[in-house]
Structure formats: structure tokens, C-alpha cells
């Protein structure tokens, strides 16, 4: 599976237009007129939202025009447009994103210390080709440094899960 630049452009334009529509509807509820004492609370977001929608539509149109040109060019010359994201790239990014999302979910459920140890160790083990115990040592070492900097030196509590209280760390 590959993603073409055209798909990415269209998707992004739709997303930004969506943000604009959300802002316009949200702002409309607040009132977007101009009173004697100046703009109402929704005035600014409303018009900014409209501009965003306009600019997104422009980008969308450009994407379609470019796409048609690319298709014509492909038909005439036989050269195929270079994909935006090839299969290999997509796989790598997907893997990295999945691991990162896993880390976030882990942080929210098990706390940041467990999650970062596992995440770093897993990456070092699977992607870096380190032996498992070396990888675990790297993860644990980083986590300890992190604990010392945040909780001990700067006294900032980070997210903790069910395991830390068992060790007497709150």
C-alpha cells in the first residue's frame, strides 16, 4: 500500500477545513457581531475560521489541478509519480507511531516510569539489536535518571501507576 501526495494533500485540506467549520459553528454560538464596545467574543474566531475554510478550499482545488496534470503526464510519458509514502516508509512510520501510542497508553495506565522503561528497552532490543538484558538496563537507567531529575531535584510529580506505591514511591 502506498500513499500518493494527492491523497495527503486532499486529506489535509479536508482536515483544516473541518477545523475552520468547527470554529465557525462554535463562534456562531457566542455571537460574532460588532457591538458598541467592540467585537463580540465570537467575532474573531468566526472570521478567522471563514478564512481558514477559504484557504483550505483553495488548497483542495490546487491539489486536484496538480493531480490532473500528473495523471495526464503519466499517461503521455509513462513516468509514474513518485509516491508520497512508499510501502517501506509507511511500515516504518506505522511501527514507530504504534510504539509511541503504546507508550502514551502505557503512561496513562501504568505510569510513566514503567512505560518508559519498557518502551526504551523494547526499541533497543527489537530495533537496535541489543541483547535483552542490555536493552532493559538502558531503559531502567534512563528511567532512574528521569526520576532523579523530576521528582528528586525539581519535585515535580509525574504520572504514576499501580506499581510505584508498592515500592513506596508516591
Amino acid at each position: 500500500m502506498t500513499v500518493r501526495r494527492f491523497h495527503a494533500e486532499v486529506g489535509t485540506a479536508f482536515a483544516t477545513a473541518g477545523l475552520g467549520i468547527a470554529a465557525v459553528t462554535g463562534a456562531a454560538g457566542l455571537g460574532f457581531g460588532w457591538e458598541e464596545s467592540g467585537p463580540q467574543p465570537g467575532y474573531f474566531p468566526f472570521y478567522v475560521g471563514l478564512i481558514l475554510i477559504g484557504a483550505s478550499l483553495w488548497n483542495l482545488m490546487r491539489a486536484f489541478m496538480k493531480h490532473r496534470a500528473a495523471v495526464l503526464h503519466e499517461r503521455n510519458s509513462g513516468e509514474i509519480e513518485e509516491p508520497f509514502l512508499g510501502r517501506e516508509n509507511l511500515g516504518r512510520i506505522g511501527m514507530f507511531l504504534a510504539a509511541m501510542a503504546g507508550f502514551v497508553i502505557g503512561t496513562l495506565t501504568l505510569g510513566v516510569y514503567v512505560a518508559s522503561t519498557v518502551y526504551i528497552a523494547w526499541s533497543a532490543w527489537r530495533q537496535g539489536g541489543y541483547r535483552l538484558w542490555v536493552a532493559l538496563a538502558i531503559g531502567a537507567g534512563f528511567t532512574i535518571v528521569q526520576y532523579v531529575i523530576f521528582e528528586v531535584i525539581f519535585k515535580i510529580p509525574l504520572l504514576k501507576g499501580p506499581i510505584e506505591p508498592l515500592l513506596g514511591i508516591y
Binding site: K155, I156, P157, Y170
Partner: protein, 331 residues
């Protein structure tokens, strides 16, 4: 139940060396959740208490400060709601705890928090620029009556304590001012010193620097009695020389902002007792006295029933102003 608690507390106050009184003690770090950004008035309040507690060994557990000042402090109170029953979180605010839900649609109510104590009352004064033509509060009000809606009052935030006070002045006197909200008291003070607004209702420590420099001067203070004696500050006047607004002819008995401490709801009574006790001890420390003098606030330790009735009165009075202005958020 509460009567017994009060009795117990009184007993504990008599027998200072009775450590068995507070059955509950924190066994993990206490979070000080502050309903303002770092450096704000509530932040200074919380950090002073933190240092008084630590340096006088009143509480052994470590304490960490979390600033949650978003949405005029609503962020901190929502956090309290999410952590109902957690005895290790103290919330620091003003009267915004119980006033915010009236003016904005928020996902918490005052019932989500358990009041612990009020430790100080911050005063409000009417200030004008030093070279302004208004010599008294009545001058200012008369001028506003002559030219309605042209004299500008600056204040901190919108529909917060400052705008409420200006609205109250308008309702009592019948004058019509123009209110401009700024980001905080400090900014409002400078706007006045620079002559961009005609007056403000800053707290003493927000304007003291400009007063010392002779850039602004106070007209009156919204307090039942004059403020405490002090060294002369500006124009050979000290805090005590400022007339109360009532003396000066504006019929507002008092308008003060309490500095309050809260717990999330549903904590054990022993927990509340523990913190009440700790706050009472804080009020006696030199650090606390120092803080009151330096910020020119009035010390007022209100606990339990006294606190409840203070909150009730303050809430009722303020909500009346809100209703007259039509600020109460439509449900």
C-alpha cells in the same frame, strides 16, 4: 457532629502538646493545587503557607505546588472534582471557588469542594492617577454621573472580583463607568500610572509600588474599618490614613476578597481537622505575619461554621450584583 469537632478543636488549641488529636496524618506528598498561574496572588499565598509549614515543622510530608490557573482558576476546581476523596490535595483559591459557577458554565459545583479555612482578607481600594482631578470618591462618582460611560475603570479579568466591585459601585451610586478588563492587577496598575485609564480597584500590594513613587494615589478602601497603621508610603500617608469608602460617602460597607483553602469533597472529618489545625498553626508563624504585613492584607482565620457563614454571606451579596448585571450564566 460539627459541634463536637469544634469542641475538640478548642480543646486541642488549649492543650498544644496533644499530638494524639489529629488521628490522620499525610503519608505521602501533599499536592498544593493553586488556582492561579505562577507568580499570581493565590500562588504567593500557597507558597507562603508551604514555607511556613515546612520551616516550622508543622507538617512532615513533602509538599509540591501545582499551578492550575486556567479558566480563571476553574482548572484547579475541576481537578478537585476529579480527585474527590483524596486527602493529599489542598486547593488554594479566593472566592472564585464559589463564584465562578455563577458566571460561567462549568463542570463543577461548589459542593465538589470542602472548605477548610480562610486565612486572610485582601482589601480593595479605589485608586486614581496622582495628578487626576478627583480628590475623593464622590468627585469621581459625580464626574461619572455628569458624563456617563466615559470614565474608565481598569481591572483584572472579566466578571471577576474587580468588575463585580465596579458594578457594585455603579449600582449603589447610580454612576455609569466604562470597565476595561486587563490581564492582572500589575498590568492594571501600570495602565493607571501611564494615564491610560482613569481609575482602578487594585489590592494594596498591586499598587503600592506606584503609590510610593507618587504615580497613583488611593481614594478610599472598601473595608468596615480603616486599615492597620503603617509607615508612611506615599504623600506622607500610610494605609491607616486612607478613609473607608463608607466614611467618604459611598455606601458600601465592605468588599474584601478571602484567601481560601479547600479539600476535595468526601474526605474523612479527621482529614479536615488535620488541615484546620495546620492552618491555625500557620496563622501564628512569623512567616505568615510577615506575609500579611508585606502584602497589606488583613489576617482573618475563619474555620468551620464561621467559615460557612462567611462564604454564605459573601456568595449571596455577590450573586445579587451578578443578577443585577445579568451575568449569571443561563442554565
Amino acid at each position: 457532629m460539627t459541634k463536637i469537632k469544634t469542641a475538640l478543636l478548642t480543646a486541642a488549641a488549649v492543650m498544644v502538646a496533644a499530638p494524639a488529636m489529629a488521628e490522620w496524618a499525610p503519608n505521602r506528598p501533599i499536592e498544593f493545587v493553586v488556582a492561579s498561574g505562577a507568580g499570581g496572588g493565590t500562588d504567593n499565598f500557597a507558597r507562603t503557607i508551604q514555607s511556613a509549614l515546612t520551616r516550622n515543622d508543622i507538617v512532615d510530608a513533602p509538599m509540591v505546588v501545582l499551578n492550575k490557573g486556567g479558566g480563571s482558576g476553574a482548572e484547579a476546581f475541576l481537578y478537585a472534582r476529579q480527585n474527590a476523596g483524596d486527602p493529599n490535595k489542598l486547593i488554594f483559591g479566593t472566592n472564585n471557588v464559589y463564584l465562578l459557577p455563577y458566571v460561567a458554565k462549568l463542570a463543577y459545583t461548589t459542593e465538589d469542594l470542602q472548605p477548610v479555612a480562610t486565612l486572610a482578607l485582601d482589601e480593595f481600594l479605589v485608586w486614581v492617577k496622582a495628578d487626576s482631578p478627583y480628590e475623593s470618591i464622590t468627585d469621581l462618582i459625580d464626574a461619572a454621573k455628569e458624563a456617563p460611560g466615559t470614565i474608565t475603570f481598569g481591572g483584572s479579568q472579566s466578571k471577576d472580583t474587580d468588575e463585580t466591585l465596579v458594578a457594585l459601585i455603579e449600582q449603589v451610586s447610580g454612576a455609569d463607568f466604562k470597565y476595561v478588563p486587563f490581564n492582572g492587577g500589575g498590568e492594571t496598575g501600570v495602565q493607571l500610572a501611564g494615564g491610560h485609564i482613569a481609575a482602578n480597584v487594585n489590592n494594596p500590594n498591586e499598587n503600592i509600588g506606584q503609590w510610593q513613587a507618587g504615580a497613583v494615589r488611593p481614594l478610599c478602601v472598601f473595608s468596615p474599618e480603616r486599615m492597620a497603621e503603617s509607615e508612611p508610603i506615599g504623600d506622607d500617608m500610610g494605609w491607616h490614613d486612607i478613609p473607608t469608602c463608607k466614611e467618604a460617602g459611598l455606601d458600601i460597607e465592605s468588599y474584601q476578597m478571602p484567601r481560601t483553602v479547600w479539600l476535595p469533597k468526601d474526605t474523612d472529618p479527621e482529614v479536615v481537622a488535620f488541615y484546620e489545625d495546620a492552618m491555625k498553626k500557620v496563622a501564628e508563624t512569623p512567616e505568615w505575619q510577615d506575609y500579611l504585613t508585606k502584602t497589606s492584607q488583613t489576617g482573618a482565620v475563619l474555620l468551620d461554621e464561621e467559615l460557612a457563614s462567611f462564604i454564605q454571606t459573601n456568595e449571596d451579596n455577590t450573586v445579587k450584583v451578578f443578577q443585577a448585571e445579568g451575568w449569571t450564566a443561563a442554565e
